[in-house]
């Protein structure tokens, strides 16, 4: 890695002692000796193991659940169904007033995605829990499922989630989050070229090497200690408190070093049910996702579809950009309404465009609920935007890097969401990339600056 201190030298103080120094990491000696304690590096006497019975169907009504055989299985201590969960229907963003509550901790009457949690089995050993789980009988009536966002948005599509009653999230702005800036149609009308293209992605897993999990220990004083690898301690504690209808002061969350997160450990998914199990049995409970669960059950990065329509002039100026973004939330909201909205705030990218129209939708389908991941709401949008930029440059016969200089935002430029640009540095990054990659651009671009025009 090279630090190029020549850029923005006037804005940076270099009189610091500790900041800017490559100090060794204090946690590394623990890592290399295997001494770092992760949540699962604990073993408690009498600890029970929780295994989840999951839906084999993408969408089905639950006619009945029979746990009688499973309950008798040797080693089984407790079996939990929806009726055991005090506040079974929840949504994690309720903490920042983004509702409605739309997800069941344990399925109640219906499953909406293949892999949804239905029954929790607590047993003395993992093997006993697995064996008992195989004896839980769930009678399903399979329902039509919808997997494609376009299909889901059509009239007559199966309703994925009755708590929404429609297959998209309803924002206060309507069926999508909107950004309106200038007159995009006038921009297209005056453009030398108009290019509309569609981009698509499929779900992506965080794949941390340590799977999601927790160990809950009853402390004997009506408090429960939850050793967890959540990325957000209080967020998880407060949601668990709501789901369990248990005052927050009864809960003690302990994290520590987490074996990778990447956004995959911000759902509140293992802790509430494990705490409930510990409460109802009075014993420590371990609930740790298998790798299979981590891959297919834990929320992935949402699949997205992004439609970009641009008006561009032969001189390289983009004069209008219309983006319609669709986020595939899967069966439940989790963080997806927020992610789709974050996309609306990100488009049209780091470019100054006078006429902008953004609609971002959060769509429900019968698949594993998606949620946050590194670059949430932006990663796939950036793929779409930057491939589109390449296409636009080639459309008008311009070098793709020079084309970006022409449109790059600078300090003071008004963004589509009506904030003036501050602290821009796109131009300087491109200047340095031009040098590093030996990708020559005209001198006028090398002498540009992100500082406000005329400064």
């Amino acid at each position: 890695m090279e630090l190029r201190k020549s850029y923005f030298a006037d804005q940076r103080k270099d009189d610091l002692h500790e900041i800017g120094q490559p100090r060794p990491r204090s946690d590394s000696p623990g890592h290399v000796t295997g001494k770092t304690a992760y949540f699962a590096d604990r073993n408690f006497p009498g600890m029970l193991h929780l295994k989840m019975v999951r839906s084999p169907h993408h969408h089905a009504r639950i006619r009945s659940i029979d746990i009688s055989e499973a309950e008798k299985h040797p080693g089984v201590v407790k079996i939990l169904t929806a009726k055991d969960v005090p506040h079974n229907v929840y949504t994690i963003l309720i903490l920042i007033q983004i509702g409605p509550e739309d997800e069941t901790v344990l399925a109640d009457g219906k499953v909406r995605w293949k892999g949804e949690a239905v029954v929790a089995v607590l047993a003395e050993t993992e093997r006993a829990a697995q064996e008992a789980a195989a004896k839980v009988k769930v009678d399903y009536e399979v329902l039509p499922a919808v997997f494609d966002m376009e299909e889901a948005l059509k009239p007559g599509a199966p309703t994925v989630n009755e708590y929404h009653g429609r297959n998209y999230y309803l924002y206060d702005s309507g069926e999508c989050r909107k950004v309106r800036f200038g007159d995009v149609e006038a921009g297209f009308a005056g453009a030398d070229h108009v290019l509309e293209q569609t981009y698509q992605s499929s779900p992506i897993e965080h794949a941390p090497t340590e799977t999601t999990g927790c160990i809950v220990v009853p402390e004997g004083n009506d408090r429960f200690t939850c050793y967890t690898n959540t990325q957000a301690m209080f967020f998880t504690l407060d949601n668990a408190s709501i789901i369990l209808q248990m005052p927050g002061n009864k809960l003690h969350f302990v994290g520590g070093t987490v074996g990778g997160g990447f956004g995959g450990k911000v759902d509140v998914i293992v802790e509430p049910i494990a705490i409930l199990g510990a409460k109802l049995t009075g014993r420590p409970v371990s609930f740790i996702y298998s790798r299979e669960e981590e891959m297919q059950i834990s929320s992935p990065r949402a699949a997205e579809k992004v439609v970009i329509k641009d008006g561009v002039m032969n001189d390289g100026r983009i004069v209008a950009r219309k983006v319609t973004g669709y986020t595939d939330a899967g069966a439940y909201s989790r963080h997806s309404p927020y992610g789709a909205q974050k996309g609306a705030g990100h488009y049209p990218g780091p470019y100054t465009i006078p006429n902008v129209w953004i609609d971002t939708y959060c769509v429900y389908t019968n698949r594993t609920p998606s949620s946050a991941m590194r670059g949430f709401g932006v990663t796939i949008g950036d793929f779409a935007l930057e491939v589109q930029m390449d296409k636009l440059a080639r459309l008008i016969g311009m070098d793709p890097l020079e084309f970006r200089f022409i449109n790059a935002y600078r300090d003071g430029d008004m963004k589509a969401h009506r904030q003036p640009t501050e602290g821009a540095a796109l131009i300087e990054c491109m200047q340095e990339a031009s040098r590093a990659a030996n990708w020559p651009v005209a001198e006028k671009y090398l002498s540009m600056s992100s500082y406000a025009k005329g400064v």
Partner: protein, 160 residues
């Protein structure tokens, strides 16, 4: 549940336990013996986090039944440093900033240890091959490869 005796040396120390038959070595080490340095990242044999050295060979403790290890000499990442002095590989991982979340690190170090035991001066390709059963999601592997190459160089300098 049938309990069976297992006896082996772990990082040079004699260990004898009664365990449930069918228990994996990973569980025996972590839950019975208390060495949590091998990590259960998948229990499928696909991540390498549970790698240990059994009689000089790299093995996955999640797929090895503990009772098949009777009489074996087992080494884990927690047993590499001696008298508080880090093993050259451990030192090299620190110096190369080759750990982030650290969860893959013990397994990586096990894989690298076996490599350097057999191939003191490995090529980059040999290092890559040696680490190919171990997943890292944080680093992009390059710092880990560099750490192993550095440790090998310092080894050969010490030997010279």
């Amino acid at each position: 549940m049938a309990k069976v005796p297992v006896q082996f040396t772990l990082n040079g120390a004699e260990k004898a336990e009664f365990i449930d038959s069918g228990t994996t070595l990973l569980h025996a080490l972590r839950d019975k013996i208390g060495d949590t340095s091998p990590k259960g990242g998948c229990h499928q044999g696909t991540c390498g986090g549970c790698s240990v050295i059994i009689d000089g060979e790299l093995r996955l403790s999640c797929l090895t039944l503990a009772e098949t290890c009777n009489g074996a000499a087992i080494t884990t990442a927690s047993g590499l440093s001696e008298g508080g002095v880090l093993h050259p590989l451990q030192r090299a991982f620190l110096d190369a900033f080759a750990t982030q979340c650290g969860f893959c690190t013990p397994g990586m170090i096990m894989a690298a240890t076996v490599l350097l035991d057999h191939t003191p001066n490995p090529s980059r390709d040999e290092v890559v091959e040696a680490l190919s059963g171990n997943i890292c999601r944080c680093t992009g592997y390059e710092p880990i490869i560099q750490a192993v190459l550095t440790a090998a160089r310092s080894n050969s300098q010490n030997a010279a």
